[in-house]
């Protein structure tokens, strides 16, 4: 097959990217609108940004959202890596498949059901809705994703690496920390960032478990729908977009700097 990129495919790529990014740019442009609506650009102003930074309540909600995302990604990555190791280590094929299917069921089941079941669970357990209920549920729905991101890396790893390490006298702890974890680090990072984005944009589950003055951004924006969404939400979305862009750039540079060599095992 011809490997050269034809102009047609370049155009196709450009069109697709345009379609994907156009709504975001549309939103960004209108965040600078001096008018009040999303379809009538009256002139350039930074008024919405000023209003945004004066709104302490909204600021608290944004910080809440970010903290929940960081913490839930952190915990779910740790638990998820352990889970992936356990699934990988399972001797019997059947056990492995069962564990994996149980994991996947959690990913495919609708958020609404997960959210509703958490609500019932938390209220039955007497846990007050708020920061902890949101954090716990985010950790819970992120774990299967981390497992799924880490497992392929584990599968990819040649078992001879572990055998070699053992031959050279490594203890089980050494095998895990010096051989397995370094090898699957890219998977762990991928899992972490997936969990982070899942938590940042989750609406359905969060919707059920917020309460007592604690709210996240997606829930707050949704509740504005009845009265119409003000353009300071555009301003906020623009800032968040830039923030994620920054994250992606940083992540890119980190991976560039530590490009794994061919074997996948780094000397340290």
């Amino acid at each position: 097959m011809d490997k050269k990129i034809t102009p047609l495919s370049k155009i196709f790529l450009a069109v697709i990217f345009f379609i994907l990014y156009a709504p975001i740019f549309f939103l960004v442009i209108f965040s600078f609108n001096s008018g009040e609506t999303m379809y009538n650009f009256k002139g350039f102003s930074l008024e919405w940004y000023r209003e945004l930074f004066q709104d302490t309540r909204l600021l608290i909600i944004v910080l809440n959202t970010i903290v929940v995302a960081f913490l839930s990604a952190l915990f779910s990555t740790i638990i998820g890596v352990l889970g992936a190791l356990a699934i990988h280590q399972a001797k019997k094929r059947q056990t492995k498949n069962t564990l994996l299917s149980l994991n996947n069921v959690l990913i495919v089941s609708p958020d609404v059901i997960i959210g509703a079941s958490f609500l019932i669970l938390f209220t039955m357990a007497g846990l007050k809705l708020g920061f902890y209920s949101v954090l716990l549920s985010h950790i819970a729905f992120s774990i299967p994703i981390v497992v799924l991101m880490v497992l392929p890396k584990l599968m990819e790893m040649s078992p001879t690496l572990i055998d070699a390490a053992r031959d050279l006298g490594a203890s089980s702890w050494n095998v895990v920390t010096k051989v397995i974890i370094p090898f699957i680090t890219p998977g762990i990072f991928a899992g972490f960032f997936m969990a982070l984005t899942y938590s940042l944009d989750d609406f359905a589950v969060t919707f059920f478990v917020t309460g007592n003055g604690f709210s996240t951004l997606s829930v707050e924006i949704y509740s504005l729908a009845r009265r119409g969404i003000s353009l300071n939400i555009n301003a906020l979305s623009t800032l968040l977009f830039l923030f994620t862009l920054l994250l992606v750039v940083i992540y890119y540079f980190i991976t560039q700097r530590n490009k794994p060599n061919g074997m996948g095992v780094r000397k340290r």
Binding site: K178, I181, S223, L224
Partner: protein, 357 residues
């Protein structure tokens, strides 16, 4: 491994810093002290300055939380685990919440400002003697239309919608009671009619309207009408005032045959922790000057008679949003018709939706 550990530690530290920032922001706002009041309201449905004023006057800190639908609000309250002191459901929800025993009776002796509420809006079927609820805002269901696009044609009655000139021009709000109600009203029946024959008649009349209907839509109806995608729309008055503020060509009318009258009401749900403060808050919101300011911000119609004199004359005299007494007579509040009848309304609405042009 080291790199990973360092990264995770970094994230943990960042989170800790952020948590500290949140808690100090919260305490600087006074949210974490003892004397707080949690208000559960629709998004952007109160003037934020009034909350500050209330806090200053009473020393009670207000935690403001929002919901987007009556059903969501009721679920949160029903499930417990929350401590909302005030909620603002619509009138049909109050009936339901009362039956489910989710409301705390109000102590009228703590609400001296109650006298400012228009007697017309008190003691209604959904809450006799206002035992549990106080009206917050009210409105109607009516027609938004664009006189320019209709070449100066005026709409004053439901039956004007059946005009063949309006082919493919009408947008309907997706609500069974609203649409079937329009059919009933146009025939001169009550909105709360449960006579099956009348209902079928209304549905058949609606079927003949289908050539004129462009679409049956949800919340996007506001944007579609403001952008002149269609010239006529069936909407709630609250939406209408928003649409009209975005596009000044549009006009709103409550049809002369009568229409629906709806209320959003303040209640104290069973989850309340600070009932004393809740009463103070309700009484504060009933103050004529406060109500006038709030009405100015929200843009819906206020039930507070005392507030009217603090409001601009052109707003109070606008018969589209403060209908004349004769028209008000013809407005009806939706009654709870029971599960069976509501199911029948829904079934007819579904049949109507499936009717081919």
């Amino acid at each position: 491994m080291n790199k990973l550990v360092r990264f995770f530690l970094f994230i943990a530290v960042v989170s800790a810093v952020l948590l500290y920032a949140i808690s100090s922001l919260n305490s600087s706002q006074g949210y974490s002290g003892g004397n707080t009041l949690t208000v559960f309201n629709w998004g952007d449905y109160i003037d934020p300055d009034l909350i500050k004023k209330f806090e200053k006057e009473t020393g009670i800190k207000v935690i403001y939380e929002t919901f987007d639908s009556n059903e969501a609000m009721m679920t949160k309250i029903e499930q417990g685990g929350t401590n909302y002191d005030i909620a603002v459901p619509s009138e049909y929800m109050i009936d339901k919440m009362r039956q489910e025993d989710l409301l705390i009776p109000l102590d009228h002796s703590k609400l001296p400002n109650l006298k400012h509420i228009d007697k017309r809006f008190m003691d209604l079927q959904f809450d006799p003697e206002n035992k549990y609820s106080i009206p917050y805002f009210w409105g109607t269901v009516g027609i938004v239309y664009n006189p320019k696009m209709l070449h100066g044609k005026e709409i004053t009655s439901w039956n004007d919608l059946w005009d063949p000139d309006l082919k493919n021009e009408i947008l309907l709000t997706d609500g069974a009671r609203e649409v079937i109600g329009m059919g009933l009203n146009s025939l001169g029946y009550s909105l709360n009619d449960t006579n099956k024959q009348h209902l079928v008649e209304a549905k058949e009349k609606l079927d003949t309207l289908t050539p004129n209907i462009k679409a049956i839509v949800g919340d996007e109806i506001k944007m579609l009408l403001a952008n002149q995608e269609a010239s006529v729309g069936l909407v709630w008055s609250g939406d209408a005032s928003e649409i009209m503020s975005e596009n000044e060509d549009l006009d709103y009318v409550v049809p002369k045959e009568g229409s629906n009258l709806w209320f959003d009401n303040m209640v104290i749900p069973k989850t309340a922790k600070n009932i004393e403060a809740a009463h103070k808050f309700i009484n504060f919101m009933l103050d004529p000057k406060v109500a006038a300011k709030n009405t100015d911000y929200v843009g819906y119609s206020t039930p507070n008679k005392g507030a009217l004199k603090y409001m601009p004359k052109e707003v109070v005299e606008d018969e589209r949003f403060y209908p004349s007494p004769e028209l008000t007579e013809k407005l009806e509040v939706y009654e709870n018709l029971g599960k069976k009848n509501l199911a029948y309304y829904n079934e007819l609405f579904l049949q109507f939706k499936m009717h081919r042009k």
